[in-house]
């Protein structure tokens, strides 16, 4: 009861008590608040410095009280601060006071940091003082800088990436598409930015091959991917993946679409499976004959003539198989060793050509190769054995594909190629020739210019030639027309003539 009576009628002692209470409360705040509090007078001298300020600046109150506040700032503010203060006192135009801003502070150890500074002015009995509230924001500042750095790194990565990226916001509108995506699809960023995902889907759909209809990405669940077959702006196969971006607590921030150009992978895959299918067919067909006829010979009593006929078939098919296996192994070895077995050295080509032609024997064909050799030929860096093998294959083809005779000519030439001077060995026959389409494919494994025409072979000869020329950095050139024979030229980089 007495206390309520006291409250109703404040006495002098009561007022003092309230003042003391207010001081205590202020002192508690001053000492425990996390923000630094620094009080200065009109001349800039520090007269209060709280524990938080001690932590922030590394000074004890003893070291700063009575000294100019400019000691807490780096240059140029340090020298200019007295001027700021005088200017304010004179004109009343505030830079910081009552406004607050981000400034740089200086610690006792000389290091600087970013801080938020708010200044309140108090005027007690004509004496003006300024209370500075300081918050160390160097951590936020660093975080912001890291974020800026991170986003410029991301920007650089997206710009340089060969894969396409499209970012969509939470309202499914395009916010970003990187240059690779624009190049893959031929779209312009101007028309894409802000477009809806359904609109993007519609535009992608118009680029797709009609037989491979586009599934809308809107319906794709998170993490899903599919394959797009584009017909425009150039034929391409793209793998499209979708990833949801989530903020804190699973908040939807939109999605990223990722497009990877897998055209060459698909092409390689197709070539590999085509090679396997053909290799299986080419290897199993002679085997089927060999095993089948051998079984017959074991189980049946045939007359001598039939037996001989069957044995001949077995022998012929075994030879085919042996030839095929040898060619396959040669090819595989060259490919796997990438030319490491090649004994390449600079040498004259004429002796190699001469040896090759002398080694050439075509059973049952009396034709000789007509030589049209240059009197002098630049040397080249070659493996003599491998070049001989390539040339033999080309010459054998010339015989094989001119069953009705005609001259087989070998000529040497030189020309200026794209990568420098080249020396060529050209073999010409006057046989069945081939169409341009066929000529374009003869380097492919198992590709046969004449599949049904009864000319034997597995279609590996020119693959081998091409492989050998590749390792010599040479080129295979074929000029031909159906019924008019063919000229196959092996081009090799030429070296300067010896003095």
């Amino acid at each position: 009861m007495t206390s309520s009576a006291k409250a109703e009628k404040p006495s002098r002692g009561n007022a003092e008590m309230l003042l003391a209470e207010s001081r205590t409360r202020y002192k508690a705040i001053f000492e425990t608040v996390v923000d630094g509090i620094i009080t200065i007078d009109e001349s800039g001298r520090i007269d209060a410095f709280n524990p938080a300020a001690e932590r922030i600046f590394g000074y004890t109150p003893d070291e700063v009280i009575g000294r100019n506040v400019s000691m807490l700032m780096p240059e140029p503010d340090r020298s200019a601060h007295d001027g700021y203060l005088a200017n304010y006192l004179q004109t009343g135009r505030a830079g910081v006071i009552g406004i607050g801003r981000e400034v740089t502070g200086r610690r006792k150890d000389g290091s600087t940091f970013q801080m938020d500074l708010a200044v309140a002015e108090e005027n007690i009995a004509g004496r003006r003082r300024f209370n500075g509230i300081v918050r160390d924001i160097s951590a936020q500042h660093q975080a912001r800088e890291r974020l800026q750095r991170f986003s410029s790194e991301m920007q650089a990565i997206f710009t340089l990436s060969p894969d396409g990226f499209v970012a969509l916001d939470e309202r499914e509108r395009v916010t970003y598409a990187n240059p690779a995506f624009l190049a893959l699809t031929g779209m312009a960023i101007g028309t894409l930015q802000g477009a809806g995902e359904d609109d993007l889907d519609r535009r992608l759909a118009t680029l797709c091959e009609p037989e491979h209809e586009l599934a809308p990405s809107v319906a794709m669940p998170d993490g899903a991917s599919d394959v797009l077959h584009l017909a425009r702006p150039r034929p391409a196969v793209l793998k499209r993946s979708v990833r949801r971006i989530q903020g804190e607590g699973g908040r939807n921030l939109g999605r990223v679409l990722y497009f990877r150009d897998i055209t060459s992978e698909m092409e390689l895959h197709r070539m590999k499976s085509e090679f396997l299918a053909t290799a299986a067919h080419e290897l199993r067909t002679p085997l089927a004959s060999i095993i089948g006829f051998a079984e017959l010979l074991m189980s049946q009593d045939y007359d001598a003539e039939t037996r001989r006929d069957l044995l001949e078939t077995i022998h012929r098919q075994s030879s085919n198989l042996a030839g095929l296996v040898n060619e396959l192994l040669d090819l595989a070895r060259i490919e796997a060793r990438a030319g490491k077995d090649f004994n390449i050295r600079v040498q004259a080509l004429l002796p190699i050509i001469d040896a090759t032609v002398r080694h050439l024997m075509v059973p049952g064909d009396p034709r000789k190769v007509t030589l049209k050799l240059a009197s002098s030929l630049p040397p080249a860096a070659v493996d003599a054995d491998k070049l001989e093998q390539a040339l033999l294959n080309v010459l054998a083809n010339a015989y094989k594909y001119s069953p009705n005779g005609g001259a087989i000519e070998l000529a040497t030439l030189t020309r200026q190629g794209e990568g420098g001077p080249q020396v060529g060995i050209a073999v010409t026959d006057h046989g069945i020739g081939m169409t341009a389409d066929v000529a374009a494919r003869v380097g492919e494994r198992f590709y046969r210019a004449d599949h049904a025409g009864g000319i034997p072979g597995a279609g590996l000869g020119l693959s081998l030639v091409k492989e050998i020329l590749d390792i010599h950095r040479g080129e295979l050139q074929i000029e031909t027309r159906p019924g008019e024979g063919a000229t196959v030229t092996l081009w090799l980089p030429a070296l300067p003539m010896p003095e």
């Binding site: 396997l276 067919h281 199993r284 085997l287 095993i291 006829f293 078939t313």
Partner: protein, 193 residues
Amino acid sequence: MESDLCTTREAAQRLGVSLRTVQLWVESGVLRAWKTAGGHRRILVTSVDEILEQRRVALSGAEEPTAAAPPFTLVVVEDEPDLLKLYRLQVASWKLPLRLVTATNGFEGLVRIGETQPQMLIADLNMPGMDGFRMIRSLRASADYKDMEIVVVTALGKAEIADRGGLPEDVKVMTKPVPFSELERLVRARLAA
């Protein structure tokens, strides 16, 4: 140009095969034909003549003078001449009452099948011209040949067959080298049935 065309029925009579077989040959391109505005097929007479000529050549090769139709006809379609010879010798070694008819591609296969109505077909898949896949699809699309057993003997693996569109489910697939003992068992089972 009306005289250059004939109806399905006329073609069937001239070729000595059923209407359905003529339809199969037209659908698969063995016979060249057009449809009239009324939807009737009109077949090119020259295309009918070609088949008759092929048959004459085949018969003059003394494959089979025919006569009493044997109880069982087996058609083998295979493009490799050595393998075809192997089929002939192996099938002969079985000493079974059957007639063997051979063809070297899908077109010829369809012609022989239409003419001889075989109980069983053994076919390769990889062949020039019409391959085994197209030939078998044409056959399975026609109701007339649903009872004919089809066996594929191929160098292709399962995956390659699937890559090239696959085969109807009731087609047996065997891998080369040709499993003759298995083929023999199949034929004997059909003969006993």
